[in-house]
Amino acid sequence: MAPKRPRTHLTAERIQAFLDDALSRDDRAEVQEHATFCGRCHAELEAWQFLYSELGGLPELSPAPNFRDRVLAGLDTALPAAQAAQRRFGWLRRRAVRAAEHLDPERLQDYVEGLLPARQMARVSAHLEACGGCRGEEEQWRSLIQGIEKLPVMAPSRAFASHVMGQIRIGRRVRPVAARTTLGHALTRALAWAGRLIPRTQKAWAVISGIALTPATVVALLAYAVFSNPLVTPEGMASFFWWRISGGATALWGLLADGLVESGITFYAYSFLDLLAGAPAVAAMVAVSFAAATSLSGWVLYRNLMTTHTVDGNYARTSI
């Protein structure tokens, strides 16, 4: 059976909608079928396709300087016609503007770095072939990135590795070493924190000096006020303070001695010594325990305060 012959030709709007991919699947199939069998519509479709491809490469043009004023002046009467034109030819303008726009810097950087998907890479390549301005930009980005990539890798001094290896903890089974490092770390942090309190500007130093001098100035003024009285002499003041301090110290000592006697500590100490004298085995055990505790504490102090990692030719020794 021969295919059904179309009764009417394709309209210009229908062909444009077809090229803009704005038709449903059925309508699209219908247009394709029609164009296959209708020579006139086929020729029309090819003409529109050619126009589309040509418009894609058009540069963006600027209107005359008074163009905007003229449009706005005729807006009231021309509006319906302008809207119709917009509807009819909007796609043409959008395509022309899209083709004439330059690539933005981010897109160009991503292109140079090869980060775009394949399809976008192809699009950008096509644009670069056609657009000299963007090609120049792309070369600049490429040159910049290559310049950075050529920067050399820097090497630290020869002693660097041994300094690092000399300070790392290799084998942490010795607890006191960890304690020492924690203490050292806390001290370093405290010093760093204290360092931040040091003024760094002249103004800050002036303020700090003013604050620091205020009490000294007050004391100096008070001393001046006191010693300006003819009855008050430095010798007299010294004798007075000595009398007060020695009296206070004597009273304090008496208080402590009374407290010691009355608390019963002396009695308990005497009883303990009496017990040790009566039982030599207990006395020996106490002596040994005391010696062991002293040795242990001495060893802990030695490990924490005296020993350091020995650095030889091949980094630190293992301290287990």
Binding site: L151, I168, R169
Partner: protein, 196 residues
């Protein structure tokens, strides 16, 4: 034991078990890249050595906390970068000088702490030209914000992928991309006379 053939993760596991050779091998692998990054961040050789040294000591003393699901390089770069950024923030040194240490008090000290680029296989003229170009690029990088500087150095000097930079800097991927776009934009503007 032949440490050369071990992966970073294997070495990290050995280091966590107190193997001194593993520490030494990890240090050998990373001392140059870490030092380069820190040096370009602070532009002071002595200070860079101190900061890089502290970063390594911190990392090695905490190697048992390293999570092998992530790359070791990302982990150690993260520690070094955070340590350097903290230092810059404390000192408020947002930009660095190509001409030597910002702490240099005399011209001689400045010259001593100046960036030194070692010669390559180039002939003397090429070397001088590249050195001048490199100096200007270094100077432009030194003027970037510390975060931009880190991103550019990690991407284009160390050659890290965006995802790794995102892990190192602890930032979303989109932010890293934005940082890099902006940083390169600033560099392009600063170096326009060289690359146009």
């Amino acid at each position: 034991m032949d440490f050369d053939t071990q992966t970073d993760k294997e070495l990290a596991a050995l280091a966590a078990a107190s193997n001194e050779g593993a520490f030494a091998e990890l240090l050998r692998r990373y001392e140059r890249p870490i030092f380069s990054l820190v040096y370009r961040m602070v532009r002071d050789r002595a200070l860079a050595e101190d900061l890089a040294q502290e970063a390594f000591i911190r990392a090695f003393n905490a190697v048992s906390s390293y999570d092998p699901r992530y790359k070791f390089s990302s982990w150690i770069f993260k520690i070094a970068n955070n340590h350097t950024i903290d230092h810059l923030r404390r000192r408020k040194l947002d930009t660095v000088s190509i001409d030597g240490s910002p702490h240099a008090r005399t011209a001689q000290e400045g010259e001593q702490t100046r960036l030194v680029v070692e010669s390559t296989d180039e002939n003397p003229q090429e070397y001088v030209e590249h050195r001048e170009l490199g100096d200007q690029i270094e100077q432009a990088i030194g003027k970037l914000r510390p975060e931009y500087r880190t991103a550019v150095l990690l991407r284009h000097v160390e050659g890290y992928a965006y995802e790794e930079i995102s892990q190192i800097m602890d930032l979303p991927l989109g932010t890293v991309k934005t940082y890099l776009h902006r940083a390169r934009g600033e560099l392009k503007k600063t170096l326009a006379h060289l690359i146009s």
